[in-house]
Symmetry: C2
Subunit: 761 residues, 2 copies
Amino acid sequence: MTTYVGESIPRNDGYDKVTGCGKFTADIYLPHMLYAKAVRSPYAHAKVLSIDTSKAEALHGVKAIITWENTKHIPFNTSATMVTTNPPEEPIRDQYIVTNEPLYIGDEVAAVAATSEAIAEQAVKLIRVEYEELPAVYDPLEAIKPEAVTLHPEIGKTEVNNACGVVVHIDVFQGDLEEHFKNCDHVVETDIELPRVKQCQMETHGAVADYKNGRLDVWCTTQTPHPTKMILAYALDMPESKVHVQNPPYVGGGFGVRIGISGKAEIIAAALAVEAHAPVKFIYTRAEDMLCSDTRHGGYLHCRLGADKNGKFMAMDTTAWLNTGAYATFGIELLGVCGACGTQGTYYIPANRYTGYPVYTNQETAGAFRGFGTPQGTAIVEAAVDKMAQVLGMDPIELRHLNTRREENPLGFWPFPVGSIGVDECLDRAALAIGWKEKRGRKQSGNIRRGVGIACGTHVSNAAPFCVDYNAIVMRLEQDGSLFVSSGIPEIGPGSTTALMQVACDLVGVPFESATMQFGDTAAGPFDIGSHATRTLYTVGYVMSCAAKKLRADIFGFASKMMEVPAEELDLKDGIVFGGGKEMTIKKLAYQAHLRGHQFIASECQIPPNSLPWFAQAAEVEVDMELGLVKVLKVAAAHDVGQVVNPVLCESQVEGGVAQGVGYATREEMTYVEGKGFYNDGFHKYMLPTADDICEIETILVESRDPYGVYGIKGIGECGVNPTLPAILSAVEDATGVRFEACPLVPGRVLSGLKKAGLVK
Amino acid sequence: MTTYVGESIPRNDGYDKVTGCGKFTADIYLPHMLYAKAVRSPYAHAKVLSIDTSKAEALHGVKAIITWENTKHIPFNTSATMVTTNPPEEPIRDQYIVTNEPLYIGDEVAAVAATSEAIAEQAVKLIRVEYEELPAVYDPLEAIKPEAVTLHPEIGKTEVNNACGVVVHIDVFQGDLEEHFKNCDHVVETDIELPRVKQCQMETHGAVADYKNGRLDVWCTTQTPHPTKMILAYALDMPESKVHVQNPPYVGGGFGVRIGISGKAEIIAAALAVEAHAPVKFIYTRAEDMLCSDTRHGGYLHCRLGADKNGKFMAMDTTAWLNTGAYATFGIELLGVCGACGTQGTYYIPANRYTGYPVYTNQETAGAFRGFGTPQGTAIVEAAVDKMAQVLGMDPIELRHLNTRREENPLGFWPFPVGSIGVDECLDRAALAIGWKEKRGRKQSGNIRRGVGIACGTHVSNAAPFCVDYNAIVMRLEQDGSLFVSSGIPEIGPGSTTALMQVACDLVGVPFESATMQFGDTAAGPFDIGSHATRTLYTVGYVMSCAAKKLRADIFGFASKMMEVPAEELDLKDGIVFGGGKEMTIKKLAYQAHLRGHQFIASECQIPPNSLPWFAQAAEVEVDMELGLVKVLKVAAAHDVGQVVNPVLCESQVEGGVAQGVGYATREEMTYVEGKGFYNDGFHKYMLPTADDICEIETILVESRDPYGVYGIKGIGECGVNPTLPAILSAVEDATGVRFEACPLVPGRVLSGLKKAGLVK
């Protein structure tokens, strides 16, 4: 029985954000603070021959300039990647503070700190860089050709040119894959080409760095304060204990784009602060944010799926060639999740192979974005499943039910128990909400045609086994019994700290009103891998449950003496310790403990398990056959969240994800113009759906109660976006009869597809 | 064997302080910050009949005004007093945010927050307060008379009028005290009158408070962040978890004056911030600091000492009537320490009674100041011992040796083992350093006469059993093995955080260069009672030793698996784990642990023991008989510190204490002018010794190695000041033949004493 878990308690950062008094990185002002600007390469691939900074240095107000010449040459990875297989591997370290061989248009070759942004900007223009242009490659399928220029010869020879790694998952439980395919009655093949899309978080990347007395203090927009601390310490060759990273405390959205450092805001601000002996602020412009920080991985996927005559899947083979851009960042891990969650998780297939290539190109880097590979993997697999349903003449939902994973099915890559599986309930409830039975397969002939589609899938509730994933936490009662929780986890917008305090207060048994969480600060909270991977509530909740157990034991030990009741008979709920017919408030107990020299305190460090959250989304679309316009009317999003902690916050996560999925499927795309770079240097050139463009979203929360996590909770953060694109593609096919194999479904692409199919002239 | 303990490592706050980039409270600027000023009573005792704030409110820029009408009426104690006897008692709570019955000239009746200090000041002048003046009393001996006005009728009837309590220590081991006196061959009686003196810390009291979203953030000059958090939460009726108190991180000296809140800077800034919905800064002027915050307790002490014919002390009876001013603050605890350390600690006397009265008067409040009662107690007892030596015709050092405490002597009030006693060594080494044998008892007749004197004593290494005293701490290794220690302890100037990190690095076995301590912040560190009571290094070192044990066990458990060596065979020193013929760096181990989801972390909460530090100081003075000028030539200060951690820092503590002792004995005094208040509203009106006025100080560090504390450490912080005044009085007597029974020995008093003795005309 819980008091707070399950309640829509208003978010505790609401007041700060609504009144505008909540502090973000741009709000940080320090005495004598300087402002940074970067010198960025105009070439997609070039060698810096010389840099003349003399004119810039002479400019009044310029306090420091960094180039390749005066910065450390310790390669690092800007993401929080920490590949953990057995034995643990090191991340690919292929970036520098600033480079002498830029690999994309926008790559940093120098940076300036000056007394104002205007002066810094002027100084940037006064820096003369002489480049030698080098051959460039932009498409992953081009880049893997042996004759293509190799962008990172320093990371060693890889099997496939420019692939920064090859990720293979194989679940073949007997015989080999091709043998399984041979035994199939039906085999279908599908392709999909997916765009690069941008996170478009409201707050651009930013950092303020202050270095003095051997200690570096950084306020920034990162989603991962502790890993950011590690990256900065590594790249600057400092002890980690002397690098202090904190959110200020708020971050205006993340969606994955600042797992690790935020673009390069932190490291450049820090390097300039060291050089200038003064605090330095580096706030990315929207253009820098759009053009010089990670995107979602776009690229190509192919799937071959085989089934027996009843529709039982027997074999699947999927390959992904995704564009990781100029640097590896999360390339390996993301291609790993793409295969694991997107292709191996949802269905039990006796022989299932996945091969993923994260491919370097001379473009802006791709990294983490909500879903982290699962949207791509789900898109190709769900397309293949739809195609198989057509071949078999089966209802797509029926076919899915036939093949979805059961608890007892083996899952090769997964080192955890599978836990509860709510995917079938999600499918049925999403179908019901969209009106599947009435609407699917309507014969239509007019200009405006409607269709419904569905897609399902699974994801993770934390980053393991793809990344190191664990949390440490300190919980203590203050001297009046109020709960104080210290965690390194940040609040990047979802209301995680509210939901976490609901969990914490129920776990400890104290009132929510008097509890506080200190978050997003490496000095205040011990290690936490950060807010990403759908993990925040799930994993921090888990470690909280371990710490709360210790804390309660400490409380009951003391209370037992005060109350003269055996500790094992005591319980604590709503701030009252009771048992043996007696009770005492925690307020009184904590103060009595204080008078006797004791604070109730517990620290814990734990590797959480990982539970699979499940989902199915059904979409209804309307296609204008003449204009090629796809309008999404409704998405019914059913999500197995294990146990809802805060219904309003949970629904808002689903809604946000669906909105991004609608944009991904129908509108958004980073468009590359050779010689100029990406076209989309602002929201005015990037077709983010507005409130007007978003369809009705019906969120259905399924509670399968995970048997391993705390209170049955699973993750939700990334799930909303995962199946939206394939559900929409399926609905468009239902409306038009055309299966599109590339996104987004902008009018040009739709019209050309409809024409090709002979449906319009 | 230690690597860092014992070394004069340069203080880690040195760079910040020398370059001016270290941040203090006055350096804190927040957006939209307001500035506070207080309306202070011009009467020593009055009732506020009405306050008209209308004109002030109308002034442009005035944002909030607090008076008795719109503030909470929850009485509190501004000090960190938490009386702990068995059963625990509550502190005397006799103050309010602002008062409607001011009890001293300067007492706060209202406060203003405005957009500038100038406007706030102007607003203060526009507030019209109508008072009814009430009878006042200024001297403790007057105030205890039954006919004197009772200043705090609300705290209940006390045995003696205006005494906020009576503290009695009795150690009588058989029979009764008077019986023991009857058996004495010699009985002497002495009196002493001691002045109020001021801490004169460089940074005046100050606070910046920011209240929003139900949470209060306070940056301030307190020496005790966690107790300050408790006081603010209590007075503002908030949960403690929502009050965040931090030093910024530096504090410009404390000497006891800001144990608890800093004057009333924090509480007034906080109340105004709540009222104004904006951050408020309240920095005391030097005049406010001098006139409206705690002083050392002045007053009267009397001692009767009896000995047998051989000089063995048989009975002692001491009484103190000290002026605690308008409010109790630390009155009870300080009078307790005065008796315990000053009268009961140094000598073993079979029958020993002490009675202490902290007496309310209509003056600025007295509270904690380095030594906390021990200087007063030591002054009276050492004077009595000197007198006894004269009566017996014995050398004062010989007489002291005969009576100093031995480990086996019972000590009634002391709940801890006595530990090591280095007082005899201190006496001998101080005597040797001052040239006792050659110089004591010189017959002189000229105008300039020299003399030497000596005094000895003991103190505490923490606040127990007079106050609650304990520490919690969190120690963790970062992912590169660097040590990060979180403590609520502040750095108020002595270099405590440097010395503590020397201890921590030796305890854990890691390099000092890579270790960091987070201090003075209630959000970053768990409960710590603060930096006072000579306790910082001793008690935090102690709890560190407990945490380090846990941390090392955690490390060895992991290392055992990695290195395949049983945990019990492993050791860690200088960053290397070794044993069983193998070794591995802690850097590598911590990173491997990280990759496996583990951070080495330990939290601890412990009540430290309390060890008695010992000391003897010998002074040489020169008295100009014509001018009445006492010049201190040298103080040889021998201190039993158990074990020196950082010799330079340790010596600087002794030197600072001696300087304050020289001022106390010869120059400093707060002078009260009836109807006007204290005369000393700045350093120009307060005779603090300058560098020119300070004598040669020879510091002798005696290492008796406490068997109970970590590394044998005892406290040192307060000890330097404790015996200086009686040593100087003794030296002046040696020079002139006159025993002065009042201080400071300013020319007027000296001349009048010499005249009274017929030595000058």
